[in-house]
């Protein structure tokens, strides 16, 4: 973590920062837009700031906004957020051998701060977990530096977006940028045929069961899509469906 001396004084910390810098403008633009979208969807400045500073996960923040606005129950919002975040569950399995030697709170702090790009860059630089103490220290320092740049280039523009959004009329409809962002992430996940089936089924079911109370249409849609895809997998045993 960037606040630990043994991390930020290590040379790998700077290397981790340098490898993240080229990504910073893209992260910043997305953060800015998320900040604007939160406020323009009807969240207060305090709520938006709390969400940015605490949740630190763009796609689950954006997915939660329409559900918050619709007054969905907490468990539906949290379950939807968790589903959107399931990719991190897969990442955590991969990161386990790199971090498991640390005390639990440090592991979880590393986990909390490691978003998509840091995971990708970290596992690219270190295809294997270190075998000795010095190697482990270097890997932790790299991860800390990398995550620090990611965190800062997300947080600062998000806060700017929240403040600026106060001066933009709601009628402009800038909140829709949040939905467009989710459209982009959705397209980026559409990497196999069964995932496209999953998206199509979930979307159709969510619309068809819209009238269900408590926003349960979201839960029903996810369950229907996942069960159908697992069923289709059984019919056509894994041939080309490589996980990405």
């Amino acid at each position: 973590m960037f606040f630990l001396r043994r991390h930020y004084t290590h040379p790998e910390f700077r290397i981790g920062m340098n490898e993240m810098w080229p990504q910073a403008p893209g992260i910043a633009a997305w953060g800015l837009m998320t900040g604007v979208a939160m406020v323009k969807s009807g969240m207060s400045v305090v709520e938006s700031l709390a969400m940015t500073l605490l949740v630190f996960a763009g796609s689950s923040q954006l997915a939660a906004i329409p559900l918050l606005v619709a007054g969905a129950p907490m468990w539906v919002i949290l379950a939807t957020g968790f589903c959107v975040n399931l990719r991190f569950v897969v990442f955590s399995l991969h990161l386990r051998p790199y971090l498991i030697h640390l005390p639990r709170w440090e592991r979880m702090a590393h986990g909390y701060l490691t978003a998509d790009l840091s995971y990708v860059l970290f596992t690219r630089r270190y295809p294997r977990p270190a075998a000795d103490a010095e190697g482990r220290r270097a890997q932790e320092a790299y991860l800390a530096g990398n995550c620090f740049v990611n965190w800062a280039s997300w947080m600062l523009p998000s806060i700017v977006g929240i403040v600026l959004a106060n001066f933009i009329p709601t009628q402009w409809g800038l909140g829709f940028a949040g939905i467009l962002c989710l459209v982009g992430i959705l397209c980026s996940l559409a990497s196999t045929r069964l995932r496209i089936v999953s998206a199509a089924v979930a979307g159709a079911v969510a619309v068809a069961t819209w009238a269900l109370p408590l926003k349960l249409n979201i839960v029903v849609a996810i369950a229907a899509a996942v069960l159908l895809c697992l069923g289709l997998e059984k019919l056509r045993p894994a041939t080309q469906e490589a996980p990405s």
């Binding site: 386990r96 592991r107 467009l180 895809c229």
Partner: protein, 113 residues
């Protein structure tokens, strides 16, 4: 949730979402014990995220006041389509937003769609 006002329930949901971030990102190294998900759950991980996004997004694009939009004069339809096409053109989420808003704002503000 009331527009523009802060309420405790929303703040509690936000705190819950923060816990969800921590749990999801450290899922397999919270416990010291090594363990694995059952096979079906591992396979399910492939399909749930895109399903969740689609279930949230599609109603926001094609529905208004709880019904399918009955008109083609709705800026969201064209903006979302243009955004998706832009994604598959350049594989860039940021471009999706920019192109989508470039379609959305003129139709919405200029055309009143």
């Amino acid at each position: 949730m009331m527009a523009g006002t802060t309420d405790l329930w929303t703040l509690m949901v936000i705190a819950g979402l923060a816990v969800v971030t921590v749990v999801a990102r450290s899922f397999f190294f919270i416990s010291n014990k090594s363990w694995n998900l059952p096979h079906w759950a591992q396979r399910g991980l492939q399909y749930a995220p895109i399903a969740a996004l689609s279930a949230v997004v599609l109603p926001e694009v094609v529905m208004a006041q709880g019904h399918l939009v009955g008109t083609w004069a709705d800026a969201r339809l064209y903006a979302a389509t243009a955004g998706a096409l832009a994604y598959f053109w350049r594989r860039d989420v940021l471009l999706t937003i920019l192109v989508g808003m470039a379609v959305y704002l003129p139709l919405h503000l200029g055309g009143g769609w």
